[in-house]
């Protein structure tokens, strides 16, 4: 990776972004989910389970075969519901609704063994009542892992953001007053890509800060900066 290691570590220390390098040399960014969205996902799942119980109650009235099936289903809902969904979908329906995924700590989708472990150990996270242990553990751990996640080596992360690609508005290229270093060039290109969404006044305001002619006001400054962006992206 061309970016030096220390700045990445320094940058990630204060937020919930974790970078993982793949064997192919790409940097994967994992955006960790904290206790609040996870609790909301759990509440949604609890509602779904409740619905499943209600759907199953007619079995009580049925024959003893139905009762036996009911008890087996209760067992499955109590213990295996999260495992089945995590293996097949990557997360339970509650987590999916909140845009969360369960992944191994190398960013690959969670598989059977880790999923089973983290969900069996949920019993301990639930202690002494209502997820107290799990909550304390997620708040202490810098990756928001509860005890089950620590033992299984899993993380709960946000799913991919939608692609945010926007094209750079076409302008006649304009040579910058001095050569741009990579950081500045990136900032100017970033600004150009986002200028459509910023609104004319705000983008003019920002452009005035970096335009090479300090007296160019508003629209003219914006044109200058977009020209520099075109020069950086396309050349003359």
């Amino acid at each position: 990776m061309s970016l030096p290691a220390t700045p990445i570590a320094a940058r990630t220390a204060i937020d919930t972004l974790r970078r993982i390098e793949t064997p192919e040399g790409a940097d994967i960014a994992l955006r960790l989910a904290g206790p609040v969205p996870r609790a909301a996902a759990f509440a949604l799942d609890a509602l779904l389970r409740l619905g499943a119980y209600l759907l199953l109650t007619p079995l009580i009235a049925a024959s003893e075969l139905g009762l036996g099936l009911l008890l087996l289903m209760l067992f499955a809902i109590e213990w295996l519901y999260p495992v089945l969904f995590e293996i097949s979908r990557g997360a339970t329906p509650g987590k999916l609704a909140l845009g969360l995924r369960v992944v191994h700590d190398d960013a690959t989708p969670v598989a059977g063994p880790a999923s089973l472990l983290r969900n069996l150990l949920r019993v301990v996270d639930f202690l002494p009542l209502f997820y107290a242990a799990g909550l304390v553990c997620t708040l202490i751990d810098r990756d928001f892992r509860r005890l089950g996640d620590l033992a299984a080596g899993t993380l709960v992360v946000y799913a991919d953001p939608p692609p945010r690609r926007a094209s750079i508005p076409q302008r006649p290229p304009r040579r910058p007053p001095r050569p741009l270093d990579a950081e500045t060039q990136r900032a100017i290109l970033d600004f150009a890509e986002r200028s459509n969404r910023l609104g004319p006044q705000r983008s003019a305001e920002l452009a005035e800060l970096i335009a090479d002619d300090p007296h160019a006001g508003g629209g003219a400054a914006l044109e200058q900066v977009l020209g520099m962006a075109n020069w950086a992206a396309r050349g003359r």
Binding site: L3, D27, I28
Partner: protein, 328 residues
């Protein structure tokens, strides 16, 4: 190289990877040969482009585009693809007994914590008919006695459940017993206290019931009922206990690792044990519901079946998956 030239030069490859991901992601069918062979190469190329684009200061939009593409490719390439039938068979044939033999010391410790209190309490309750009151209240004892009343049509079920069917009892046994095994395992994370308590308490109750019923003269219905599934059920609880003790060991005696690292390793090692315990208990529940409760076979037949069960289970756990290199 300017960004635009870069994009023009490589856009075709990026598009190819995008198409490939869409095709391969659909369904879980095995990847088509030619397309699958292309994936690792394309992923390496695109990962390289992503790093290049970032270091050259190309626009963040392009970098994040390439990054998302590389991430999606990584997730697909390294997606777990278990072959279930083969994996389940391999686990039962070799994986589980081997895992148990690797952790034989903890298994014997769990056995001592479970069968020790059971034996002591059993002998004590057989000698003293009132001792069981120290453990269970009067209602529990009455229900226990009604389960093994020699006049029962169905063995092992309290009077009000005599009419319940075998299938219902199967569901009940699965939910109850597998739940106990799972809790025995998970509560090992409380520095072992949970596992030790569940093992000891269940040992005490089982022993008390056996001793009490025997001294009451209900010995024959009781022993002929439990003999069939006893090997599977009791062993499974001890196995679940040893899985819990593995977690406890990671916290109490992590050795030359941090506690977190030891927990990771021991939890992975405990998983085959708890899954194996679950399989044993499913089998035990079937035997208990459909065979043990039936009053038809003579007690001698049931004892013979129970004894054979212990022999077979012992042979399975000590011999299955054994190789010259195993050395266990």
């Amino acid at each position: 190289m300017k960004q635009q030239q870069f994009e023009q030069a490589h856009a075709a490859q990026w598009q190819r990877l995008r198409t490939l991901l869409r095709v391969l992601d659909r369904g879980t069918a095995p990847m088509a040969g030619a397309a699958a062979a292309e994936l690792p190469r394309l992923l390496r190329v695109v990962s390289g482009h992503c790093a290049l684009a970032r270091s050259r200061g190309y626009s963040p939009g392009l970098v994040s585009d390439l990054q998302l593409l590389a991430e999606a490719g990584y997730r697909l390439l390294y997606r777990p693809r278990p072959r279930w039938p083969r994996r389940v068979f391999a686990f039962l044939a070799t994986g589980f007994p081997r895992a148990l033999r690797r952790n034989a010391a903890l298994f014997w410790l769990a056995c001592a914590l479970f069968f020790g209190p059971m034996t002591v309490m059993g002998l004590a309750c057989a000698a003293d008919g009132t001792l069981i009151h120290s453990l269970l209240d009067a209602d529990d004892i009455a229900s226990l006695e009604s389960m093994y009343d020699p006049t029962n049509r169905k063995l092992g079920r309290p009077a009000q459940r005599q009419a319940d069917g075998d299938m219902m009892m199967f569901g009940y046994y699965v939910r109850n017993n597998v739940g106990i095994a799972f809790r025995t395992f998970a509560l090992g994370l409380l520095f072992g206290v949970g596992s030790v308590f569940i093992l000891g308490f269940n040992g005490l109750v089982t022993g008390a019931a056996a001793g009490h019923l025997t001294q009451l003269g209900y010995g024959e219905p009781f022993w002929s009922f439990v003999s069939g599934h006893s090997s599977l059920e009791l062993t499974a609880i001890a196995v679940a206990g040893s899985a819990g003790l593995l977690l406890a060991k990671a916290l109490l005696a992590p050795g030359r690792r941090t506690r977190a690292a030891a927990l990771r390793a021991n939890a992975a090692e405990a998983l085959p044990l708890i899954v194996g315990a679950m399989c044993l208990l499913l089998l035990a529940a079937a035997v208990e519901a459909f065979w043990s409760s039936s009053p038809a076979p003579a007690p001698a037949v049931k004892y013979a079946v129970g004894f054979t069960g212990w022999l077979l289970l012992g042979a399975y756990l000590t011999l299955a998956g054994r190789e010259a290199a195993d050395g266990a």
